[in-house]
Amino acid sequence: MAIFVDENTRVVVQGITGRDGGFHAREMMAYGTQVVAGVTPGRGGQVFDDKVPVYDTVAEAVREHDANTSVIFVPPFGAAGAICEAADAGCKLIVCITEGVPTLDMVKVMPYIQERGARLIGPNCPGLLAPGIAKLGILPTSIVKEGPVGLVSRSGTLTYEVVYQLTAAGLGQTTCLGIGGDPVIGTTFMDAIMAFNEDPRTEAFVMIGEIGGDAEEKAAAYIKEHVKKPVVSFIAGQTAPPGKRMGHAGAIVSGGSGTAAEKKKALEAAGIPVADRPMDIVPRLQEIWKR
């Protein structure tokens, strides 16, 4: 088991005929993910790589192939629309990789997908990789390994760095999840933590935060109250100057709040070790995790 995916995950790739969509669709399929259809308006009737039928709409793709999940690679101006389309077509899990989606588009999307009972991951995220089960997004498969550790992160390559170290230390993963660096995202730290906490295969997990917002503080409070599994954290951006957006639209210290120091304090107050360096994450986890 993993969180959010299982062997019944049947994927539609929105934007499959685009450069990124095509590349990553192949990567997902190569990992054994059930990519059952692609969607590009105007390309209905084509077949992607002689394997995957392409439709004009997600509704047709879902109807024809009983899909339940969508992974979205479309340009920013079309991303919110693509998410709504997937939710409206009945997809219950939607992973939006697209970077640069206007925040108010996401604000508007949220109640729409909620009314349709869909879970969104992202946007502006690497997606999810459940080793041995499925890959939904762009996480590199070469660095993962099946095992008992969950990982959730607002970042992309920093996640890879940590996964790489976990795998190198022989600690495989149940699910590696990048929730994205935007201010308004579908699945939050809290959602991921609740899922990891309930997932019987996840024995311990790692949470990689960064400056901006207070999602890490909220997660810390929840963990303190409800989570018995070992958790270690890391917060990027200790040296970030206030008022500047550090790449991610959500990574900004504003009005003196959302600092790495605050987050570290909240996490430690909740009993969660916070690694000073990325390479300290595995040792800190091993310290508290009595296997």
Partner: protein, 377 residues
């Protein structure tokens, strides 16, 4: 994107908010002429993209033309927290009977626009939030319905319990501000203060707006609002090259793929006693042109004494990345040492390629950071 008060007021005005007239001057003569046009008294207000203008002497009441001249002279050219005043807004001064704060921002937790309002207007709202949070009223706004009449009027009556006329004006201002926020794709919009004159008429006499960079494609006209004078030249170049870049004060130039890893790299430089010169995310590609741009931007800072590439290949192959770095550095005349850390698919092939160059290879992030600090001296 942060814009000036006068620009924010222009947006507010177009959505029907009651903003007093006013124009921008770039010289003392112009300021005096504008004051003449508008009639005394006026306010002369520095237009810089930072807070605390009043405390710094950048906002002055002028009862006479002499005052206008004198204050415009003082304010134009003033340095406010590193921002040089190049423009002043000359705007009619209004009598203030009471002041309110009205602001909207994106609330990450509710995933909605949050309206905040307070009868403690005209002061720093962060301070009010810290000292007397109970004096700030909040309302999250359902994007499906917008700010409804009863929500807006409810806020208005909380701010002004004894004067329904004023409460209604505040409510109308909040609804217009919401429309302005949404339709301009703002990430922050504040009126501080919204004031009433002694005759009970409301005016938005200060305005602050941040626009969502991600939504600029929808608002081609907003690109003109960007004040290039307010932008650090290196940051401007990075923006034009579509690179995420923030200038810092150190001497280790950092080129990293991914924002989170870039922050973690900066943090690690600091951890080992060094000082990062910048934040820079070169993104997922191994495009040599992007690398050239990034290097040029970083090297435009004479403080930079060493350069650190920290690349986690992920799906991009490390040998491709190495080739991109070699092509880019080979085409340039670079006088500082360059440390390269490459991890991911084909990392050994990548390192083998680097071994044939002057670039200093490193196997881990820690090693790379320590080497770069050492080489920066």
């Amino acid at each position: 994107m942060n814009i000036h008060e006068y620009q924010a007021k222009e947006i507010f005005r177009s959505f029907g908010l009651p903003v007093p007239g006013g124009k921008v001057a770039t010289s003392v003569e112009e300021a005096v002429a504008l004051a003449g046009e508008q009639g005394l008294p006026v306010m002369v207000k520095s237009q810089v993209l930072t807070g605390g203008r009043g405390k710094a002497g950048g906002v002055k009441f002028c009862a006479t033309m002499e005052d206008v001249k004198e204050n415009a002279e003082k304010i134009l050219g003033l340095d406010i927290k590193g921002h040089i005043v190049r423009k002043v807004l000359v705007t009619p001064a209004v009598d203030i009977a009471s002041e309110y704060y009205i602001g909207m921002l994106i609330d990450r937790n509710s995933k909605r626009v949050l309206l905040m309002a307070s009868a403690e207007g005209g002061v720093e709202i962060e301070q009010v939030a810290k000292d007397t949070p109970e004096l700030i009223f909040k309302q999250t706004i359902d994007p499906r319905y917008g700010l409804l009449d009863h929500e807006a009027l409810g806020m208005g009556m909380r701010l002004c319990p004894d004067d329904i006329r004023k409460a209604r004006q505040l409510a109308a201002a909040m609804q217009k501000l919401y429309k302005a926020f949404v339709e301009s794709d703002a990430s922050l919009a504040e009126i501080n203060p919204f004031i009433f004159t002694p005759d009970g008429t409301g005016h938005a006499i200060d305005a602050k707006v941040n626009l969502d960079d991600n939504a600029m494609f929808r608002h081609p006209g907003y690109e003109e609002l960007r004040d290039l004078d307010e932008e650090n030249p290196a940051e401007r170049r990075a923006r034009e090259a579509k690179l995420s870049f923030v200038k810092l004060e150190g001497n280790v130039g950092c080129l990293v793929n991914g924002a989170g890893l870039a922050m973690a790299t900066m943090d690690l430089v600091k951890y080992y006693g060094g000082q990062p010169a910048n934040f820079l995310d070169i993104g997922g590609s191994s495009n040599p042109e992007k690398v050239v741009n990034a290097l040029e931007i970083i090297l435009s800072d004479p403080e930079v004494k060493a350069i650190l590439f920290n690349i986690f290949g992920g799906i991009t192959r490390c040998d491709d990345v190495a080739k991109g770095i070699i092509a880019a550095t080979g085409s340039m005349d670079i006088n500082v040492p360059i440390v390269v850390r490459l991890t991911g698919t084909n990392e050994e092939e990548g390192r083998a390629l680097l071994a044939e160059t002057d670039l200093v290879p490193a196997a881990t992030m820690d090693e790379a950071v320590q080497k770069a600090i050492e080489l920066a001296g």
